[in-house]
Symmetry: C2
Subunit: 370 residues, 2 copies
């Protein structure tokens, strides 16, 4: 298979972690006989410094000509005082819009070797394996009017939650399709006892579920979902919800396993390339020090192999390689949890690569650590 | 001190748990020389059966003539198939409206004796002691329009988030006043990077904070707050937020300590009596079996003593009595966590009462359990 991958390294640790993911993708190409071609584009603060824009047209062009986009992270104190349109984060908002990314997918997986890092007791968190599917372009964050008004002679304010039925339908279809390939359960989260938009969401979920007779649909109110994520996260397979609820719940879920630096994400396009990125930020405090955890970005690359290229075996091999090095006890600082021996970014990348290319070789390398 | 207390027992375990709180309030009156007069009113399913309405006018009258209202819980399978206006929960919505309850207060406290019940590891949850202050009458749950519309020839839907400045101001003032009497820190939660209503909320919080120079104000985005509640709940003193964010975060917070049956709440009126109730429901499955945990309602009564009557010592004595029986190892089923010996509702109430009236007496009683 031959594929073009756009790589937007961004700022801070973005460079180090995307470099890691590219190395792993190259190893995948080598082991499985694929050809991945990497085109680099600027985004974020670095792009502002070079071109005056957080997302130059050239970068958009590179992305649109690619089969998938890999992104690191953007931002840093250097650009904190810029006017709004020159903030690095604007580059993120604009790329999401330019690529028509309507869904964000966040898998939350438990690694038994990292159980010390979780705030939750082991019996609550072990074997957790679910995916949050969040609508990304509609709802309260984008509706109009969103403005100050006058009411009864005093200042007041209005924001608007707006959805078209087709926007609900396409994300619910994505959720059911993902569930079909997993544990065949969709938990649709809404506030249907109060919101009209949630009642329409719930109806649409019921309609879409008719096309997936082998997938179980359950409805859950958002306040209850916020409880259940902590009380019993094992119950979930696919959680699907609208934009704002998804924003809150996916960030809540991201701290359950205690390893933010490990978590990948995928944003799905209506047409054109999807975008893959770790959920962590640019961490300017450790940038360039060979301390960043590259695993979130490497697992994002695994998601790319699975979701954009249909390469399930390859995706699984990358995930397996990550699990192997964790079981050997390799830890970057963010997941070390008091362990004195810290693995650097570049070491972590090499060991994952070694594990991917040759399961025997890694055993030998690891002997040195024993 | 002489005070009139309206008691709305409601359905299911509501009767048992309010009976417990009344017994404790009577013990407080006895020990401290107060006079509490209890007037009983119907609400919920029982009220529907008796009068045809989930909140009869007579009940509203009793409440309005009281100094504070104590509520149990409403609802049950018997009334699940009623039309919307004859559902027990309608009684709750209506009493909140009739009493002008604009703020809901939920304290989240850690009991070291219950650390086994929490999903969180002890080091994350111990010494947690914060209060969530939620706006209760405005925002997305009440704004209009809230309806189906047509857009671009297809079905669409709109909900509306609306706030007047005065609604924001009064709840923020309440939060700062509460913080003044506690650890002097207010965390105001919003989504000011996206919502205009949140930007007005943040401005209003800044304005109100000028009147409380000894209280520290910090702003936190709602998605980050959902993470921080799990990662580091000890950082909080008072969390204040608008209605929907408060709905989600207060339910999330309620499972952190692992003892939903322990948690009290208070709803504050613009004028007139406040309402105090446990956060748990009517639990029809265990109703009438002497199995319910009365502590949530007893601690709600303690909040009544503190917030409505200004009786801080008395409130503290009740809380202390609860802590004492927990330390002795008494557990209702919901907090037993595998412990074979289960304390009944009535036993739990007697022991808390005994502890409140005579610290020595309880030691003797407890001898029998040793
Ligand atoms: Mg977020
Ligand atoms: Mg709720």
């Amino acid at each position: 298979m031959k594929r073009n991958i756009a790589v937007l390294q961004g700022d801070g640790i973005g460079k180090e972690v995307t470099r890691g993911a590219v190395e792993i993708l190259e190893a995948v190409a080598q082991r499985y006989g694929h050809e991945f071609d990497f085109q680099y584009g600027d985004i974020g603060g670095g792009a502002i410094d070079l071109t005056g824009s957080p997302l130059p047209d050239e970068t958009v062009k590179i992305c649109k000509n690619s089969d998938a986009v890999l992104l690191g992270a953007v931002g840093g104190p250097k650009w904190d005082d810029q006017p709004a349109h020159l903030r690095p984060e604007r580059g993120l908002l604009k790329i999401r819009k330019d690529l028509n990314l309507y869904a964000n997918i966040r898998p939350i997986s438990y690694y038994s070797s990292l159980s010390e890092s979780s705030p939750l007791k082991k019996e609550f968190i072990e074997d957790v394996d679910f995916v949050i599917v969040r609508e990304l372009t509609g709802g309260l964050y984008f509706g109009t009017p969103s403005e100050r008004v006058e009411r009864d002679g005093e200042e007041a304010v209005v924001d608007t939650l707006f959805y078209q039925k087709s926007e609900m339908k396409r994300i619910l279809e994505l959720a059911f399709a993902l569930a079909s390939d997993r544990k065949k359960k969709v938990t649709s989260v809404d506030k249907a006892n109060v919101l009209e938009s949630s009642r329409m969401w719930r109806e649409t979920a019921e309609e879409v579920s008719n096309d997936y007779p082998d997938v179980t649909l359950e409805h859950m109110l958002v306040d209850n979902a916020a409880m259940q994520l902590i009380k019993n996260p094992k119950q979930f397979d696919i959680i699907v919800t609208e934009n704002m609820f998804g924003d809150i719940l996916s960030d809540e879920a991201s701290v359950l396993t205690g390893s933010l630096g490990m978590l990948p994400s995928a944003s799905i396009s209506t047409q054109g390339p999807n975008l893959y990125e770790p959920i962590h930020g640019s961490a300017p405090d450790i940038a360039g020090k060979n301390l960043a955890n590259p695993i979130g970005t490497i697992l994002s690359a695994a998601s790319m192999l699975r979701l954009s290229f249909g390469l399930e075996d390859e995706a699984h091999a990358v995930e397996q390689a990550v699990e192997t090095v964790l079981e050997y006890g390799l830890r970057t600082g963010d997941i070390a949890n008091g362990q004195p021996e810290i693995t650097s970014t570049s070491e972590m990348i090499s060991e994952i690569k070694a594990s991917l290319l040759d399961q025997e070789a890694i055993s030998n390398i690891m002997g040195a650590y024993a």
